[in-house]
Amino acid sequence: MFLWPTTRGWVICLSAVAWIMVAMVNHALFALILGWACTALAIVSLLCACFSLHGIQVSRAAGGDAVCGQLLNLPLRIVNTKWRRRQPIVVQEVLPFAWETRTSFVLPPMRGHTEVHLEREVLPVKRGEYKLNAVILRGGDPAGLFCRRRKIRLPMTIVVYPQLEDIPDLRLPQDDSFLTSTGAPEAISGSSQDFYGIREYLPSDGMRNIHWRSSARCRKLMVKEFERTSMMSVVIFLDAYKEYVERKGGRNLERLISRAASIFVCCTEQYCSVAFASGGSKPVVFKPKSANEMRGELMYHLATMAAGDVKLGPMIDELSPFISPGATVFCLRLNHQDKEVNTAIASMTNMGIDVRLM
């Protein structure tokens, strides 16, 4: 805990000293009155400030991870354990990922023995994994002459995922899709009669395939899955070679990461198998798997990946054997003139793979 005068506190304290000295030597009644008034104000404010934050408990309420560009709620649970009312308290925290790194929120006056849930909305602008350390409470006397600061350690890890873009022209080819009588594709949950298993409901699934008993048991909607299930195949290549990254902020890399994340999220909303490979600080390869199964892992990687020495070309070569002929490849590259990447793209194109360059 820490107690220090504010600017106006310094002014009052120095005024008190000055006016008392003037009164002692110049013997003027007014100077004495002003000097003692300032002194009294300073003393009472100091005493009030000493007890301003006593008995306040702060803890983090349930929150979640964040996405760049979307407001994040970091709620706090604040409890006044004493019987007396509280003056407004300022809650400050250093949030490196937010637009304003040092945010301040004002907690309204609290009654005695009450609990308040303070909703703090911030705008994350930087992706990554961050460790939040402490929350700072600032309070003091009613006149604002002395500020009491209390640091409460509330460690928390938060992952800020890349910003998602709206990609309206993203159309994924569907392999062996069967049209229903209504004309909507049924490629999502297949049309085979061989019962394969139960899986979780996706928004694009038909209602008639819902398995109600398992849904009641699992307490979430489950659909039947048949053997011959048509599945789209998507491959994402992401270049993060540091030589190609812009020096100021690496905005080109961030754009690509954002796009990759957007594509992937779009895939998760449809029944897709996704493969991923990227360079950067470390080689990362995700072999083809259902998008939903690899969602957490891939999004975490996209949130935390950084530029590095690993080039994209070798990653493409490593993943190439797992690319099916009907897959759609999204190649997010930083440099159009990268020969290795161009060679790999050409060979994939020759194999009839749909390669889309971004």
Partner: protein, 843 residues
Amino acid sequence: MNTVQPRKMEELDRISWWLHLSYLCLFEAGVVSGMWQKVNSNLCFLLLFLGPVLMLLSRIPMRYFPSMVRQLLQLVLVGLGLAWFQQRANDCPLDIALIECSGVIAVALFLGGRVRELGMQALLDIAFAGYGGLTPGRQIYFPAFFATCIFYVIIMYQTRTSVFASMGRTVQGRMPRFWGNWIYRILHFVLVLGVGVFCLVRFPIRDRMRSKGLAPVSFHSDQDMEFPELWKSWFSSTKKMISRSEEEQAVDGNENPNTASDDAKDMMKKSSLNSKDAREGEGSSPSLGTDLVFRAYTPAKLYWVVQMYDTYNGREWTRSNIMTQGRCALDYYKPAVMHEVTQNISMEKMVSRHLPYAYKASQIQFRDPNRSTGRANFGIVTRGDAVTFVLKSHGRTEPPWHYRVQSFVPDVNLKPEIRAWNEPERNYGWNYRVLPTRRISKRVKELAARITEGLDDPRAKADALRDYLRNNYEYDLTVRSIPEGRETVDYFLFESKRGYCQHFAQALVVLARLSGLHARLVTGYSPGKFNVMANFFEVYEYHAHAWAQIFVPPFGWMTYDGVPPADSNLSGKQNIITSMLDPFGDKWNATPPELSFTPPKKPEPKQTGDIKSSDGKETPASESQQVAEELYDTIYEKAAMDNNTMEPTAEQLARAAGGMLKEKLMEWKGQLMERVKARLHSWKEAFMARWRNVLDWFKVRLWWILGSVTALHVILISLWFNRLRLYRLVGHLATRYRCWRLWKRISAGQLEGRSCISACQKLNNELLALAGFHVRPSRDLLEKGELFPKEASSLRDDYRIVAQAAFDLWYSPHEPSESVRSQVLEATIRFREHLREIGQMAQ
């Protein structure tokens, strides 16, 4: 749990109306307290007008009034302020010019509309109030200063949260509710007031030490000695500008004419100061007005001398040539040690050409004319005679005038010198001792001899005579004039025994002369009223006074006032209130005013060995100096012994000192431990003795205590096992009491209308509970009536009447009529009677 949502930032960036108004009020109050009647009046009014205008301009949204335009306007205003300063610095004191420039800058800060700029402006406003406090004598100052403090405190309370939050960057979150904060603010304010008053009471201004101080008024300009003439005609230039008319200065309160008017010359001719009728005097205030005559800035509280009289013929007092020509040695007597007292006097109303001064004046200097108005007031101060000063001027001279008087008062510590010879009585100040022996009665002479019997010292005699008059005679302004043919002093001392200052002064002079003292009659003004805030004396017409001057060696002529001082505190002690109202205290009532002056303390010279005074003589060193020298000698000896040398080095001396210090510390530690042990031992002994006493006490009363405890246990156990019965009994008694009270109020007719019906319903319920008629709470009001047994049909009916009326009362908007009320009352009476009968029958 409450959930709090933050507000958007742009909503919070705007300053609230309430806060903005607070800043505006602070600015206005600061300008009034610091600039009113001090700076240029046109500028002051302009600033007061611009404040609200610029504040309203700053409320215009940014998209209509961009910040660049605001800053440009601010720069223009600041430039104007600097230009004003440059021009004014040549014409007026530097501080005035600075304050005026600061005022222009302060009003420009309104335009920004930002909290930070308003905060800077608040600091400037406080500075204005502080500057105004250096000359706070203006009437408007105190209310304006008080308002400044109040608004500043309000602003501090309102901006508290933003001060804490501004230590980050943004401020987000809902602003706290207004009312929820004020409890703490009020408590804080009350505490501040309490602590402030406590400090003022505990540490007031003590002994007066007149000095320049750290912050003399006006940056060492002449304004600290001048009186603010601006106060009187400050508004005249603005008023003239607005009304386009010449401002007539009302100098006088229309009580009496002054020298500025044509009537003054006639009045001056009539009132001659060369002689004074012994029967009449100017000490009666009903004959004088209440106008302010002059203001005096002086470090000492002294009487103001206008005229002196030394010759008494039994009918009137006149002035001898010896005195007027200064031929008496007593008139130019100088004590061995004197202190200079400089007085700056501003005559506001001239009642005569004689200028008041504090005795003994050596020089009077007429001061510079008023520079700001450019008027030329020429005046020459001349000696009317050896003891008076007269103002001579060409043409009409209008007040106020300023003149400076240099007077000298004797040092209070003077001791009478023993002379080898006694001056002959007759030729030494005989004019101050002669009396008309035939006119002075024998009893007056006997009285003088009796009062001063056994006293040789002139001061003792003078004190005795003065105290005798104070203690035995009454001050009365309404006495009749002395009868024709009677001698004034004799009549006053033995017949009337009441009078005013004239009588007291004459009596004191006559008695002093009869006692062998040199004495004379002086007329002028009493010290006047001390304006504690402005630090000067204000002398009004009703302060005109007469007193005696008695020559007391070795001091010289001393003021002796025989008039009993009202509410005087002769002990000299003062409380905080009186010391604040009159810091000079009442010491001058007990001692002559000339001896109650404490000069400023001079800085003490550096002490190196023995102290040498200014005349080169050595004086013995103080006690602390001797102790220091002894200690040094001891250390030196030890160092010399330890190192076996006659001239130990500094290092050796330091080691010796360290060793001595260590020994001393060990010794102190030992003493301390001994004392602590002794204290602990004594505590232990006392505790053991007390414990033994307690044990003895218990031993003596053991059986009685055991018996009492046992009985108490038995009682408690029986009470515990019967607690339900007791509870029911208490409840029953409480219900009975309630019924009794309700019945008393109902029967006494104390209740009306609604309250009567409610009380009747309540009484019925209580009576039913007393009778043991319990109903489940789920039954409503009217259902209870159905539960009565068939035999008690009358009870049921009566109950229903009351219950229905209560039902209608509680659930309908109509007021019950008088008939309903009376029905309810009757039903209640019957109900009560029936229940009582049933209860008696049951018994």
